[in-house]
Every structure is written in structure tokens, then in C-alpha cells.
């Protein structure tokens, strides 16, 4: 019987069936960061436990670090304390830490693929919901909580139930000015923020097959926003060429053997999925969220929908969203005034994202009333961008060029919205309070659309600027 990548990875990593009926699943790569691990390490100490496979565990600093002045000790004493704990924990338990001195520091979901740590056929876990990102290379990657981080540290395993599998097919071709971010926002808009509960998503179809690895990373990153436990793309020639030469990827003859195994893990033809969803890529226009979850979105030429047009149980959330955002049903999203523009995050903080934003930044200057930040996803992304002169393009246009970190995606450092500021953001969540101000407002969109909004001072259609 034809098997899926999920089937093959699950079987290869099954240690045993637990008395509860769940699978004891081996985790091939464990990525850790400073915010969701201190309690897990303390639990290890309390239980006198060691890290089971330190050679399969890698740490970075991303959530709390400042992106302007990174001199230690950090200005925020709580951030400093978290960093101190991360250094101490990785040292005490003998784990590598990609800190600033390594030149490899960055957002955990940017550096994993970038370093070639993330590989096809692996199981991956990290105490961060956007771990689904790593599925882009053909891994099964789960976001987990801190007590589960303890489990992976202590046992290299998780107790998991195998999810059902939905294939999400995006056919056709994308128009100019339409990006991977628009594709995943369109998928979530169609299937809903809870449509994926109980499922893993396999992304396929012509649009996905033609995407670069960085574009696939953006799509898989937001699987969790669609409710899916994880999302992946089958490994293909794009995957193999992406991994070639990366520091932690196999080298020489081993690379060819690895590539053969990676390809063998892909879903076979003729598989029966639990569900299949289809989208026409050619019908997708630049997408902007108008509400308080990533499913509340419209095409940039469209109007904000009315709560009355929704099924009854959804109406209160729609009304709450309109009230929070200060929008009215029927209002066009285009032209909505913004105060802040943010390009960055594990969704859209990679080199191709910065290039797309820079192409738009060349066409104008940041509007006077807008504060605009470019935050590279990693030190290596920053270095590559600077080598191309992207930082100069951004600075000349009035954008701030920052150092790598999670930054204003979740406002755990000093990059925060103030009051009711409206943000055009390339990040992944428009939840109330997400960007650091309890009353702050977020419009999610692609990096090019963020740059377009920054220079226009309001939501704009990037297709008109690029024309």
C-alpha cells in the first residue's frame, strides 16, 4: 500500500506503543531557546536527570534579545536573567549554544534550516509553536510545551498520537506581487483557524512544487495558525539543492546517500489522504488580515466582511475583532492608516523576504508618521543582506536596520507597539496584545506589502507600486 511521508517518518521513529495507546516517538532534533526551557532544566535538576542525547540538542537566543544595543548585561534585567539561565543550562548539560559570538545566532526556526540541522525524514521538536516551519524540508516537526521539553531532554521522546493527514493542493501559478505569505494566509482564510485541528498538512500542487525553500518555510511556518499540528512539503530536488553544503548537512559521498534516503521518504503516488483541499494559486491576490486571528483576512482589493454574513456562532468574535481594530464592516482594507511597519520573524525574516521588501523600499521613503523596522531572522541573514547592500537601501528609505531576533513579532524585547498603534507586520499572529501593547493592532501581510504600507503610510497594493 502506498505510504505518506508522515507514515514513513512515524514508523521509523516509533520506539513503542505506550499503555495509553499513544506512540512513544523518538525526536531526532531538539531545538531550544531561552524562554520555554528554564523550567524544563530545573525539572531535570530536581529529578536528577541528564540530557539523553546532548548531540541531538541545539540552543539559540532569540525571543528576549534586544535588536538595537546587544551589549551585556542587557538593559532589561529580566531579559538578562533569561540569557544567564540559557548560558548556564546549556553549559551545565553540555549542549551547544549558538549565541552572538558564533555568528550563527538567530530565530530558532531560521537557523535550523540555515545550518542544515533540519533535514528531511527527521522528527523535530522545539518549545515553540512555529516549529512547524521545519516541515518545509520534509521533516515532521512539532511545537511543544515546557514539560514536554523536559521529556525530550530527559528521554529524547514524546508521547504522541499520530495525526490525520490533509493534503492541501495549491495549483496554477502566482501572479506578480503575490508571495508565499499570501498563499498561507489564503489557505488559513479558506480552511479556518481551527480547520486543521487533528491534522497534519501536506502542502502540494504546482505552486508549492515551484516554490523555493525559503517560500516553503513561510508556508509551513503558519500551519499552526490553521490549527494543524504540523505541516510539510515532500523532499524534492529543491530540498536537496538547498541542503547541499550547509554546515550540518552530510558532505561528500554521504550527501548522495543522504539525498537518496531523503527522496525515499516522500509520499508515494496513489496515497489516500484523510482529506484533500484545493486552492487556485492564480486567484490569490495580496492578502491582509483585518481582525484578531490569522483567518480573518481579505484580498487587498476587498472590503472588510460583515459579522451578519457569518454563521451565528462566529458573529461575536467578528464583532469583537471590528471593535478592537476600529474598523467597520464594508470598509476597504486598502487605505487603512498604519503607525508601524515590521519586517522580520520566523515567518518572513529570511534573505528573500528582505530582498522583496527592499525592492519596494527603493520606490519611496517611509511615510513621516510611520516607524519602520527591518529585523533579520539570523546573523547569517543579516550578513548576507549587508553583503548585497540591502541595509543601505532600507536605511536610505528611512527604515531602521536591526540585529537578529524575534523582536516585534511578540514584543518580548523593547520592540513593542505603543498604545493603539496599528502595525503592518510580516509576522504570524494578529492576536490582541501580540505585538507588546495590550491595545495594539496588527495587520498581517507579506514583507513586500509591509514595505508598501510603510512608504504609503497606509495599507497599499504592492502590485501597483511594482508595476
Amino acid at each position: 500500500m502506498a505510504r505518506t511521508l508522515l507514515d514513513k517518518v512515524w514508523e521509523a521513529h516509533t520506539v513503542r506503543t505506550l499503555p495509553s495507546g499513544q506512540t512513544q516517538l523518538l525526536i531526532g532534533l531538539h531545538l531550544i531557546h531561552e524562554v520555554t526551557t528554564p523550567q524544563a532544566f530545573q525539572m531535570l535538576r530536581d529529578g536528577k536527570l541528564k540530557v539523553r542525547m546532548p548531540e541531538r540538542t541545539f540552543g539559540t537566543l532569540d525571543h528576549i534579545i534586544p535588536t538595537a544595543d546587544q551589549t551585556r548585561p542587557y538593559a532589561d534585567p529580566m531579559a538578562e536573567e533569561m540569557a544567564v539561565h540559557m548560558y548556564r543550562n546549556t553549559k551545565d548539560f553540555g549542549l551547544p549554544l549558538f549565541d552572538m559570538s558564533t555568528g550563527r545566532q538567530g530565530i530558532v526556526h531560521v537557523i535550523g534550516p540555515e545550518l542544515g540541522l533540519t533535514q528531511p525524514g527527521m522528527t523535530i521538536a522545539c518549545g515553540d509553536s512555529h516549529t512547524s516551519t521545519h516541515g518545509a524540508v520534509g521533516a515532521i516537526a512539532f511545537g511543544i510545551g515546557t514539560t514536554q521539553v523536559r521529556d525530550v531532554l530527559a528521554t529524547q521522546c514524546l508521547a504522541m498520537a499520530k495525526p490525520k493527514l490533509r493534503q492541501v493542493r495549491v495549483e496554477g501559478a502566482l501572479a506578480k506581487g503575490v508571495y508565499a505569505k499570501d498563499v498561507i494566509l489564503a489557505i488559513i482564510g479558506k480552511l479556518g483557524v481551527k480547520g486543521g485541528v487533528g491534522y497534519a498538512y501536506e502542502y502540494a500542487g504546482r505552486v508549492i512544487e515551484h516554490m523555493t525553500m525559503e517560500e516553503r518555510l513561510t508556508v509551513c511556518n503558519m500551519s499552526i495558525e490553521g490549527g494543524a499540528r504540523c505541516g510539510y512539503v515532500n523532499p524534492d530536488a529543491t530540498t536537496i539543492e538547498y541542503l547541499r553544503g550547509r554546515p550540518y548537512a552530510p558532505a561528500g559521498a554521504a550527501f548522495d546517500k543522504a539525498a537518496a534516503w531523503w527522496k525515499s521518504m516522500a509520499t508515494e503516488p496513489g496515497v489516500a489522504f484523510d482529506d484533500v483541499a484545493r486552492l487556485d494559486g492564480g486567484a490569490i491576490e495580496p492578502v491582509v488580515t483585518w481582525g484578531i486571528n490569522p483567518g480573518m483576512s481579505v484580498g487587498v482589493s476587498q472590503k472588510i466582511p460583515s459579522p451578519d454574513a457569518q454563521p451565528e456562532p462566529e458573529r461575536p468574535t467578528f464583532r469583537e475583532a471590528l471593535a478592537h481594530m476600529g474598523f467597520e464592516a464594508g470598509q476597504p482594507i486598502k487605505g487603512a492608516r498604519i503607525d508601524v511597519a515590521f519586517v522580520g520573524s520566523c515567518t518572513n525574516g529570511r534573505l528573500s523576504d528582505l530582498r522583496a521588501a527592499a525592492e519596494v523600499a527603493k520606490k519611496g521613503k517611509v511615510a513621516k508618521h510611520v516607524r519602520a523596522l527591518i529585523v533579520p531572522g539570523s546573523q547569517q541573514v543579516a550578513k548576507a543582506a549587508e553583503a548585497e547592500g540591502l541595509h543601505e537601501i532600507f536605511q536610505a528609505a528611512g527604515f531602521q536596520w536591526r540585529k537578529a531576533g524575534c523582536s516585534m513579532c511578540l514584543g518580548m524585547n523593547d520592540d513593542k507597539l505603543q498604545g493603539r498603534e496599528m502595525s503592518a507586520s510580516s509576522s504570524n499572529r494578529n492576536f490582541i496584545g501580540r505585538q507588546g501593547s495590550p491595545t495594539g493592532r496588527t495587520l498581517l501581510m507579506s514583507p513586500a506589502m509591509v514595505a508598501a504600507a510603510a512608504i504609503t503610510g497606509a495599507v497599499a497594493d504592492v502590485r501597483e507600486i511594482l508595476r
Binding site: T14, S20, G21, L26, T146, A258, G411
Partner: protein, 199 residues
């Protein structure tokens, strides 16, 4: 402790209705409260911003003080994997949650803390939220083993998948010990993987 100390066959306590769908973990606990190296202080920050912005928020209501059974809508706990969210609810006093559906990472985190999350129908949830609102002092029983919720003289169906139910009822939800029991089978499984063994 023996497994019986951990068994979560049923939870009985006063109810706390929290209407609304898609309540994310950022709402339950905003990120600025995650800058802590322990979970101890999380309880006081549960829904802090929502409570400040809305005096009518159910978590502000004296009627629900001391409640331990939270009754929510659809997709509760979506978003961030932060365990700080269920930790905050647990330290607020919540011992069981009944809802229409749950964010999967949140659900898993709750199991790890021994907090059962049960799924009931939209109609039953609306009834239960209203019924609790009319009689907040009356106890709700969440029966994990029988997969039902009892309030006053009514019994509603509320399900939890087999795996987590077995863990909760059997008291094996604190999983490190269970996973460690696999012993050398862990390394044996790893040793068969080409990327561990070497290509």
C-alpha cells in the same frame, strides 16, 4: 507517589463560563509575563489584559471566585505553545476545561499538567454556560472516565480521545517516567535511523 495519586477520573468544582471562540494563549497570558524562569507567579496574570480592559470579564466576577471548571467555546488555547497559559490557569485554580475544541499544543500541555480538556457540543456548551451563570455556586462534575459532564440534574456528553483519557484516568500523564521505561529501546530506535547512524 503511586499512580492513584495522579489519577484524574473526575473533577468536581464550581464552574466558570468564558464565552467566545478562538481565545488564544497570548490572550490567556501576554508574552511580557513569560520573562520568568519559573511558573510560580503565572496565576495572577491569567487574562490580565482582558481583565483590565473589561471589568465584566468572567475572571473578574466575584460570583466565580474559587471556580475550578472552566467552560469555553471553540478553538480555546490556539496559537503559541507557551505552557505558561495552562500553568496560569492551573495556578488560578482551574482543574478541568470543557469546550468545543482546543488548540492542540494547549491540549497536550494541559494533559502534561493533569488538566483534562473535554469536548462537548455547541448546544450543550451554550446551555452549560448559561446554567452556571444562573447558579454559580452549584458544582459541576467533569467525569473523564465516563466522558460526561454533570450539572444539576442534567448529564451532557463530553469526550476526550483514548490516549489522553487513559493517561489521565490511569495517572500516567506525568510522562517522563513512562517514557524512560523504554530504556535501551530508545537508543536502538535512534541507531536504526540513517541520519543518526551516519549516511
Amino acid at each position: 507517589m503511586s499512580p492513584t495519586d495522579f489519577a484524574r477520573r473526575q473533577v468536581t468544582g464550581r464552574g466558570l463560563p468564558l464565552p467566545g471562540n478562538d481565545i488564544d494563549t497570548d490572550r490567556i497570558i501576554p508574552a511580557r509575563f513569560l520573562k520568568e524562569v519559573t511558573f510560580e507567579g503565572m496565576g495572577e496574570h491569567a487574562f490580565e489584559d482582558a481583565r483590565k480592559q473589561n471589568p465584566e470579564h468572567p475572571f473578574n466576577s466575584p460570583a466565580y471566585k474559587g471556580a475550578s471548571v472552566l467552560v469555553v467555546g471553540q478553538n480555546f488555547g490556539c496559537g503559541s505553545s507557551r505552557e505558561h497559559a495552562p500553568q496560569a490557569l492551573m495556578r488560578w485554580g482551574i482543574r478541568a476545561i470543557v469546550g468545543g475544541s482546543f488548540g492542540e499544543i494547549f491540549f497536550g500541555n494541559c494533559v502534561m499538567l493533569g488538566i483534562p480538556c473535554l469536548v462537548a457540543s455547541q448546544a450543550d456548551l451554550e446551555w452549560l454556560q448559561k446554567a452556571i451563570g444562573r447558579a454559580p455556586q452549584q458544582p459541576v462534575t467533569v467525569d473523564v472516565e465516563k466522558q460526561e459532564v454533570r450539572f444539576a440534574d442534567r448529564v451532557i456528553k463530553a469526550t476526550v480521545p483514548d490516549g489522553p483519557r487513559n493517561q489521565l484516568v490511569g495517572g500516567t500523564w506525568d510522562s517522563t517516567a513512562v517514557l524512560l521505561e523504554a530504556g535501551a529501546a530508545i537508543e536502538a530506535t535512534a541507531g536504526k535511523l540513517p541520519y543518526v547512524r551516519g549516511f
